[in-house]
């Protein structure tokens, strides 16, 4: 499987925050999600991965090249959408399209207007009259209209109402459908991106704290509800996010596949019950101090 983006040991220091030794590899045709709490460094990481900011240490290669060696080519092949897109406020959407087009080798004007229609953004409106969500959708429409093969999106669903969010998620799925285009997006987990992502990266405090295939992750993390005393001690002690309630306790395990055997007995007797965990449940257990 082709790797479209490879980052090795990225480190970037700010006064009060650092990205530390972040390495990742993104496969062609995938939808990868980078999740993490606020201030985990998602935006900083995406800016470095998109060639918008340099790292102090480490390297990024996209489509096999570093930004310094192939800037023009990479800018054409990558669509980067920051969290708060910046546009000239007094210009219309239409003007922006005409302004941007010559910068790209493969601008698709017809496609752009079709997307605007799909996203319900009026091309005659001035940017300052667009809502936050519409500005995001405009940014995404632009990223989708210059023949990009890799989309790097920072919180794309933030500020979108339920209808537009659904349209965007469907559009992203369609984007990767052929297998030769890729999406990398950072998000807060509950924004719907977790639904379409196949590869999950968890970032906390500037570091990658987990990386896994989403289905594998959800298969091994489960909620275990138990009557006090019903679990073997070793298992109970291995649970995280344990809540003691008046009528029983609950805890999360990441080791369900290995514990299945030991849990069979208590499960059959009804003293233990299992439930699926959400991605948010798992993320909370990785965050320090959650």
């Amino acid at each position: 499987m082709d790797t479209v983006l490879e980052a090795t040991d990225l480190t970037k220091h700010y006064e009060d925050f650092s990205l530390r030794g972040v390495s990742l590899a993104i496969r062609a045709g995938s939808i990868s999600g980078i999740f993490g709490p606020n201030a985990a460094g998602k935006s900083t990481l995406l800016r470095v991965l998109a060639g918008q900011a340099p790292a102090h240490q480490g390297s990024v290669q996209v489509f096999g090249s570093a930004y310094a060696d192939a800037e023009q080519d990479l800018k054409n092949r990558i669509g980067y959408v920051p969290q708060e897109p910046v546009f000239y406020p007094d210009k219309t959407v239409q003007w922006l399209a005409r302004f941007a087009a010559p910068y790209f080798a493969r601008w698709d004007g017809a496609g752009f207007y079709k997307l605007l229609d799909e996203f319900k953004v009026n091309p005659l409106k001035k940017v300052k009259h667009l809502s936050g969500g519409q500005k995001t959708l405009l940014s995404i429409a632009m990223a989708l209209s210059h023949g990009a093969e890799l989309l790097i999106l920072d919180e794309p669903t933030a500020g979108l109402d339920v209808v537009h969010r659904r349209a965007l998620l469907d559009r992203l799925r369609a984007f990767v459908a052929g297998g030769d285009r890729t999406v990398l997006a950072a998000s807060h987990i509950t924004d719907g991106l977790d639904e379409i992502a196949e590869e999950i990266w968890f970032l906390d405090d500037g570091r990658v704290v987990a990386h896994e295939d989403k289905d594998d992750l959800l298969a091994r993390w489960k909620w275990v509800h138990f009557k006090d005393g019903a679990l073997p001690k070793a298992i109970e002690e291995g649970l995280v996010r344990v809540k003691r309630l008046p009528f029983g306790s609950s805890g999360l395990t990441g080791d369900f596949l290995n514990l299945r055997g030991a849990l069979a007995g208590p499960l059959a007797s009804g003293d233990v019950r299992l439930d699926n965990a959400t991605l948010e449940d798992v993320l909370l257990s990785f965050i320090k101090g959650a």
């Binding site: 909620w223 509800h225 009557k227 009528f247 029983g248 306790s249 009804g270 439930d275 959400t278 449940d281």
Partner: protein, 123 residues
């Protein structure tokens, strides 16, 4: 009584409460005339809205599992084991119907399922 709610569970919360209380009654954890926690006590203990618990208790009452005496609270009804058994059998029949149909696609017969049942019983 062992009642723990899960937001990720396919069943709605009120149904999780109803089902788990029925299980507690069937297993003898809750005996006839045992007083159930008040709606407020249970909603605070489980951290769900009182409306959810109220709905669960109403369903239990309609089903004859619980009696509510105004001002005094809700009590486990003197439901006989047989009545509970009949109810559970009806639920089982539904599940078995589904099981038999879906297994038939794999060439599994009812006889195979009976054999499997005996095996499982022996564990």
């Amino acid at each position: 009584m062992f009642v723990v709610l899960s937001p990720a569970h396919p069943d709605p919360m009120y149904k999780q409460v109803t089902d788990q209380i029925k299980d507690a009654i069937a297993s003898g954890d809750l005996k006839p005339n045992d007083r159930l926690p008040s709606v407020r006590e249970l909603s605070e203990a489980l951290n769900v809205s009182a409306i959810t618990i109220k709905r669960a208790y109403q369903d239990l009452e309609t089903g004859g599992f619980v009696l509510t005496r105004a001002g005094l609270g809700s009590y486990v009804a003197p439901v006989e084991r047989d009545a509970l058994r009949e109810r559970k059998l009806a639920e089982l029949q539904e599940e078995l119907r589904r099981l038999v149909r879906s297994s038939a696609k794999f060439g599994i017969t009812a006889g195979d399922i009976v054999r499997l049942t005996r095996q499982v019983e022996g564990d």
